[in-house]
């Protein structure tokens, strides 16, 4: 039995800074796996390690990454949200319809995000006040939100070609070499990663997810926490929807079908637990990158579509297995 006296603990903390501490982090395994993938890919294709390809790959996951942030926080608090895909689509549809009816795109976007936030609050209500499970509530909302998209558009994508260029800039513009979408993504990720690690507000999310009863006994308003994480996740879907709209210049009522599994998978690969209490934004984003880079790489290598799913699934399974063993080795 080792009993860490405060002194020797101080000691370990001292040496653990820098590289050692990095190596101890849960995310390190994933970083290595992604690096291995990058190295393999840069041998397999001369086009892989180009700026243009990196940019294209990043663009492919950046907006979904914002939803992953919301989902990760929700998972940590012990919840889950199946409605992310339809709520994202609904944000596009609401903002698009408002714009087509003469509202300026900025106000339209804010209203759309507000509507998504309200949907999240509604789910939060059913979960925390009525006492239903996140799974079933968000499943119902997934269906309802999709229905609202269809109702609003008659099933037809909205062409929003006339969006003003300064609005399209959000989705299509660049600041220097860096696309605005990626800037937004990085800001959101860094901000939430910092808040989740360091602020007292978000620590309560961990406490609630780890043991709701213990958290409640410590005076944490756990229902409020769950309500807020549920709402935040939908609000971030709203943000993502608006960015997608600016990017594609359209609003598709069928957008994001199946997104929920992808998003949850990214968070889980990154270390989030479906039973709450653990997870990091950084890990979840690495999970997103892993999934997205695999897809992009298969397309870059022009692997036969009939093989792609098999390879993708196998890489996913191998990656989580390797990650699992790497984590186990490090204790």
């Amino acid at each position: 039995m080792t009993t860490a006296t405060p002194e020797n603990d101080e000691g370990t903390r001292g040496t653990a800074t820098g590289l050692r501490r990095l190596l101890r982090m849960r995310e390190t395994g994933l970083v290595f796996i992604i690096l291995a993938l990058f190295i393999a890919m840069s041998f397999a294709s001369e086009y892989f390690l180009t700026w243009a390809n990196m940019r294209a790959m990043a663009m492919a996951f950046a907006v979904e990454g914002i939803v992953v942030v919301g989902m990760t926080i929700l998972l940590i608090s012990g919840g889950i949200d199946l409605s992310v895909g339809s709520v994202t689509a609904l944000a596009m549809v609401i903002a698009g319809l408002l714009f087509l009816n003469g509202v300026d795109p900025w106000s339209a976007s804010i209203l759309a995000i507000a509507a998504c936030t309200a949907i999240g609050a509604g789910m939060g209500f059913f979960v925390t006040r009525v006492g239903l499970h996140h799974f079933i509530v968000s499943l119902a909302v997934m269906v309802i939100a999709r229905g609202l998209c269809l109702l609003g558009t008659g099933g037809r994508p909205l062409g929003l070609f006339t969006l003003p260029p300064e609005f399209k800039f959000i989705g299509q513009g660049s600041i220097g070499m860096i696309p605005v979408v990626i800037v937004i993504f990085v800001v959101v990720v860094v901000a939430f990663d910092f808040m989740l690690r360091r602020t007292t507000m978000f620590r309560k999310v961990f406490y609630t997810g780890s043991n709701e009863k213990a958290a409640a006994y410590s005076g944490i308003r756990t229902k409020k926490v769950v309500f807020l994480t549920t709402t935040l996740c939908s609000a971030l879907c709203g943000v993502a929807g608006v960015i997608y709209m600016a990017r594609f210049g359209s609003a598709q009522p069928t957008f994001g079908i199946g997104m929920e599994l992808n998003v949850i998978a990214a968070a889980v690969i990154g270390g989030a637990s479906l039973s709450g209490g653990t997870g990091t934004i950084l890990g979840a984003i690495l999970g997103t990158i892993l999934l997205s880079v695999v897809s992009s790489s298969l397309a870059l290598l022009d692997v036969s579509v009939y093989w792609q799913d098999i390879i993708r699934g196998s890489i996913l399974l191998s990656a989580v297995t390797i990650d699992h063993y790497l984590n186990k080795r490090r204790g």
Binding site: Y47, G154, R156, G159, Q172, S250, G256, I257, V305
Partner: protein, 312 residues
């Protein structure tokens, strides 16, 4: 009294899968217009889901209401053999459209000729980029008409323009984000890519975004149309789209179904009276397709078309 008239209350049903898809709207308009001309009632049914079991259930529920005929878009061919045959045995005539169930006893099949579309697209691509260039396709494995559009184009190139080189073939399943990702990667790997053929409009939206972002000079052609791709055609980002003549599909679909319910109108040169099958057999009707270009794009605004029309 003309024989081309319904009995009072006589109803015809149009049954589809993924029933909220906008593709069906002009088809059903054609169906209704033909029905109105003959004094018939119509109903629109099917399942909003991509789920064969649910579509069969909805088809069987249609049968309970004893319509005269059903114009059916079967999600898959063979699973519908038994239900179609049972319907016909019970006196409900069935005609298929846009997807067929050839081994069933349905009397007619109306569709756009996907092979003709593919051939037209291939010739147009060659006309625009020459007969020795790199091209790519996006696809949606498992959706028969999309599969046909893609494979027919590839086959056509192989046979007629062997110098056309297929450099990318990715599944995007009508998801614009997946199409964006796939196209972006194809563009990276193939700087000399000259043309893309996309069997539907949802993927085209993602593909065009990727092409614009990469600032590549790639000719995009696709089938079907959405308001967004229409705008891209107007803006010259998409070269053209081949849009099935949905109204004709619905109109002719109704006529074929109506005819199937009135075999006695016709005394053909065959043995039907002895063999007992329906003489109104039409193995294939081509409803044709329209070519949408920058010049004629204004005529294809679905919102304008829908004004004053009941969507279902």
């Amino acid at each position: 009294e003309s024989k081309f008239q319904c009995e009072p209350g006589e109803t015809f049903v149009m049954n589809v899968m993924v029933s909220a898809h906008p593709y069906w709207v002009p088809v059903y308009q054609g169906f209704k217009q033909a029905a109105a001309a003959m004094g018939c009632e119509t109903a629109f049914s099917g399942t909003p889901d991509y789920d064969i079991t649910k579509q069969i259930a909805s088809f069987e529920q249609d049968l309970i209401k004893k319509p005269s005929g059903i114009l059916l878009h079967p999600m898959q061919s063979d699973p519908f053999i038994e239900p179609i045959d049972r319907a016909i045995a019970d006196g409900v005539q069935v005609v298929t459209f846009a997807a067929d169930s050839p081994n069933s006893k349905r009397t007619a099949y109306i569709t756009s000729d996907n092979l003709a579309e593919a051939k037209f697209a291939a010739e147009e691509i060659v006309k625009q980029v020459g007969d020795s260039a790199e091209y790519a396709v996006l696809e949606n494995p498992g959706q028969s008409n999309h599969d046909l559009r893609v494979t027919a184009l590839i086959d056509y190139f192989e046979q007629n323009y062997p110098n056309m080189k297929l450099v990318g073939r990715q599944a995007t399943n009508q998801d614009s984000n997946a199409a964006y990702r796939a196209t972006a990667s194809i563009l990276q790997a193939n700087p000399n890519l000259k043309a893309m053929w996309i069997p539907e409009a949802g993927s085209a939206e993602g593909a065009v975004a990727a092409v614009l972002e990469a600032d590549a000079d790639v000719l995009i052609m696709h089938a079907d149309v959405t308001p967004t791709t229409l705008e891209h055609i107007k803006a010259g980002n998409i070269h053209m789209s081949l849009n099935p003549n949905q109204g004709v599909q619905g109109f002719m679909g109704f006529i074929a179904t109506f005819l199937a319910t009135r075999p006695e109108m016709f005394d053909p040169f065959n043995d039907y009276k002895v063999s007992g099958y329906n003489p109104m057999q039409i193995p294939f009707i081509d409803n044709g397709f329209a070519v949408i270009t920058k010049e004629n794009a204004d005529s294809f605004d679905l919102n304008t078309y829908m004004e004053g029309r009941d969507p279902s």
